[in-house]
Each structure stands twice: as C-alpha cells, then as structure tokens.
C-alpha cells in the first residue's frame, strides 16, 4: 500500500452504500483510477463537494497492492465543469468526454497529453469553443493516444495517398481508407464513401496545431461523412456505440 497524491477529473461515480461512493478519476500521473470514497454522501464529508461528475480536484488516495479498490482519503475541489448557460448540448458534450475517457482508458495507464487535452476540451465546451468540431477533435486525440487512430492518409491496402482528386471508402475493420481500385466494383454504391474535402477537414482536425481547426467550417455533407467515420472508429474501439450519441443526435 502506498499513499499517492495527484490531480484528477471525475469521470464516473456510483453509490456503493448508504454513505459511500465509488468514484473513477482520470488522473494526469496514473491514468484511470477507481477509488472508494467512504462517507462521501455525508453532509460533513471530508471530500466536500469535490466528487461531482467532471469536477477537477486534488486527491490523495491509498493505493492497494491487491485487486481491492483504492481508498480516497482527501479530495479538494479545483474546478467544476459548468456548461454554457441554457445549453444542454455543451453539458452532453462534457458527458461524452467522460464516457470516452472511462471507456477507452485503462487503470494505471497514464496519458498526460490526453489529460491536458481533456481539460482544454472541457474548458472550451464551457466557454464558446465549437462543440461538434471540438468533440470530433477530442475523439481523434483519444484514438491516437490509445493507438487505435485509423489511417486517414493513404489506402491501407495499396498505400495510395489520399489526395484531392481521389475518393476513398472508410473501412474501420481494415483500419482506415481503402481506395476504389482496392475496393473493386462494390465501392461505387458504398455508404462508407468519404470525399477528398472531408478528408482534408479530418487531416486538419487530427493535426496537433492548436488554432487552425477552430477556423474550419465544414459543409453538412462533410460533417456527416467525418462524424460517420469517427463514430465507426470509436464504436469499434469501445465495442459498442457511445451512449451519449443518442442524446447529442448529430
């Protein structure tokens, strides 16, 4: 057993007993950590109001060497996620970030870059950052961090580069784009078609440069194609369609 101190984002919580809760944090140093917060539901709990969903707090916990849950001993509120006033979509986008972090990260597998990006994404959702594009970008960052980002740059079969005069199909089962030549006849009627313009938007979204993607204004068709490809990749990685998409209704 060792005492650990870090900063974490609450991504899930469930009642454990009359007064205790099991809280899952996504932390910078340790990745996902599930702890039992004894007495968390009591009015005079030592965790105060720090354990609400999407709250960032400084925590101290006892790390168990066995498979038992770690024990939270201290939690101090640092920042609470506040969705835009009257905007349910910004709240649901925040929930989606929590769903992705919980579903696609492993316990004690740290991803400091992903932690920083999650914080930046939530800050943008609470302010006036673009919701749909911001979420797409975060999904791509998560996929890259866990090593499951599909290849959006070339045909995964023949290596043909994705350039402006070619259109491709997106095949999540094959790990990325497949050109018409490699798809053969069936490609012409494929619902997985992704146009060159949509790919250009995707490339900008997945690039590391901070500001360029915020100026993107994709057409409805481009957004639909990109959303379809990213949803397929996320669903493939999660093993099911994300719950929050039923609420966001893209």
């Amino acid at each position: 057993m060792s005492l650990e101190k870090t900063e974490g984002l609450v991504i899930r919580q469930a009642d454990f007993s009359e007064s205790s809760r099991v809280v899952t944090f996504f932390t910078r140093e340790f990745g996902k950590v599930a702890v039992i917060a004894k007495g968390a539901k009591r009015l005079k709990s030592s965790f105060e109001v720090a354990l609400d969903l999407l709250t960032t707090c400084g925590i101290v916990f006892i790390r168990k060497s066995s498979s038992a849950l770690d024990i939270l001993t201290e939690a101090k509120l640092q920042q609470r996620f506040k969705p835009r006033s009257g905007d349910l979509r910004s709240l649901y986008c925040g929930y989606f970030v929590a769903e992705l972090l919980d579903g696609l990260s492993e316990e004690y597998d740290p991803h400091p870059h992903l932690y920083d990006e999650a914080q930046a994404t939530l800050t943008a959702f609470a302010a006036d950052g673009p919701l749909e594009l911001g979420l797409l970008r975060f999904e791509l960052i998560v996929l890259r961090e866990i090593g499951q980002l599909p290849n959006f740059h070339e045909c995964v079969v023949c290596g043909e580069l994705a350039v402006a005069d070619l259109s491709f199909d997106f095949k999540v089962s094959q790990g990325g784009l497949v050109c018409r030549e490699c798809q053969g006849e069936q490609s012409y009627a494929s619902p997985d078609r992704i146009q060159a313009g949509s790919l250009a938007v995707l490339h900008c979204l997945e690039s590391e440069t901070e500001s360029a993607w915020q100026r993107l204004v994709p057409s409805p068709i481009q957004f639909k194609e990109i959303r379809s490809a990213v949803t397929a990749a996320i669903s493939h990685a999660l093993g099911h369609r994300p719950r929050m998409l039923n609420f966001l209704k893209f």
């Binding site: 899930r12 969903l53 009257g86 709240l91 929930y95 719950r243 039923n246």
Partner: protein
C-alpha cells in the same frame, strides 16, 4: 462449507441484499430474528408484505402514498399553482420537514443520467408537463440536487418549459447560515456572490 440449514441461509441471503448490510450483519439480523418471539418476527414479515401491497405512487405527484392521491396533493389549503420539482420522495420529505413550502410537489423518480442510460423518458417528466398545462401552474421551483446531473435535469426541464406562461425558479445556493466566510470554498462563494440579493 454450509454452516446453516437452507431456511436460515435463505434468510441471511435476503438480509444481505439490503443496502449497507454485509454478510456478518446479515447473520446478526438472522440470529436476532431467530431469538425474538414469533409475534415479533411475523409482525416484521407482515409489515414488509403490507408496505409492498399497500404503498404506491400518487397518481398526481408520484409521492409514496397508500391512497390514490397523496395527502399533500389532496390538501386544498396548499397552493396547487406552485410546484416544487424534486428527484425522489426523500428530497420532498426533507423540504416538508423544514415546513417552509406552501405549494405542492412533483417527484421525478430520478435524474437524467445519460452515462448510466437514464434518459428523460425514464422519469415522470411527461406527467409533469400534462400537470402544468392542465392545472394553470404559475411557478415551478427546481429543487433537483445541486450536482451536474441534477442541474442538467433542471436545465432540460426549463428548456422544455420555454414559451410556457410559467415562472421557473431554483433553490438558492451558496454559504450556509451560521458558517463563516473564511472556510467556505470558492464554489460556495461564487454561487453566493452571483445569487446575491437586495438587502
């Protein structure tokens, strides 16, 4: 290794299903049940049976009641045009115990929690909307818990009520009476400052 016969084991198993009861406590309760008189044990069994058979949700507000309409909804002295919306009956009882609310209640039977698969369709939102339209309600007091999900549920309801001739308010939040400023966290202070009132 089974130490007890099937009847005692079954009783222990049933006690263990209760919230906050582990195996040891379940065994203690089972031994207490065995020790007490038949009349006492049967009274407990009968009370459990009665509560399951007699208690239902109020047809108006979804409070727990043994009649078709609960005492609060049936009380003509209350202001039926002001509805306080809470997540569960225990929240309503807490407000009732304070004795400060003259209106009536509506129990949502939960809160919107998309990550747990609880959407608006799983709550009593549609009956609330029907009630508001039919009863000429003038004020809705949002008293969901001050958590992200509780506030999200209130936000969903207020969006749904947009355009309706009804005033929407929510419980005040901030510093508790009797506490001191220097130990209040920044969240409490921010809430108190943004919700300040004319003196």
């Amino acid at each position: 290794m089974t130490q007890y016969g099937p009847a005692i084991t079954r009783l222990i198993d049933e006690f263990e299903k209760l919230p906050g009861i582990g195996r040891k406590s379940a065994e203690r309760l089972a031994h207490h049940t065995l020790r007490c008189s038949n009349a006492e044990a049967f009274a407990l069994a009968d009370a459990i049976r009665q509560v399951k058979l007699a208690v239902r949700s109020c047809s108006v507000c979804f409070n727990l009641t043994e009649k078709p309409v609960c005492d609060i909804c049936a009380d003509s002295r209350r202001d039926h045009r002001v509805i306080c919306v809470v997540e569960q009956p225990r929240d309503m009882m807490a407000i009732e115990a304070a004795g400060v609310f003259p209106g009536v209640y509506h129990i949502l039977q939960g809160r919107i929690s998309p990550l747990e698969g609880i959407g608006p369709d799983k709550l009593t939102i549609e009956p609330l909307m029907r009630r508001i339209r039919a009863d000429g309600v003038r004020e809705i007091v949002m008293a969901t818990n001050p958590t992200l999900e509780g506030d999200g549920t209130s936000l969903y309801l207020s969006n749904l009520l947009e355009g309706q001739p009804v005033k929407i308010t929510r419980l005040a939040r901030g510093i508790a009476s009797g506490s001191v400023l220097e130990i209040a966290n920044k969240e409490m202070l921010a809430d108190a400052m943004s919700g300040r009132q004319a003196f």
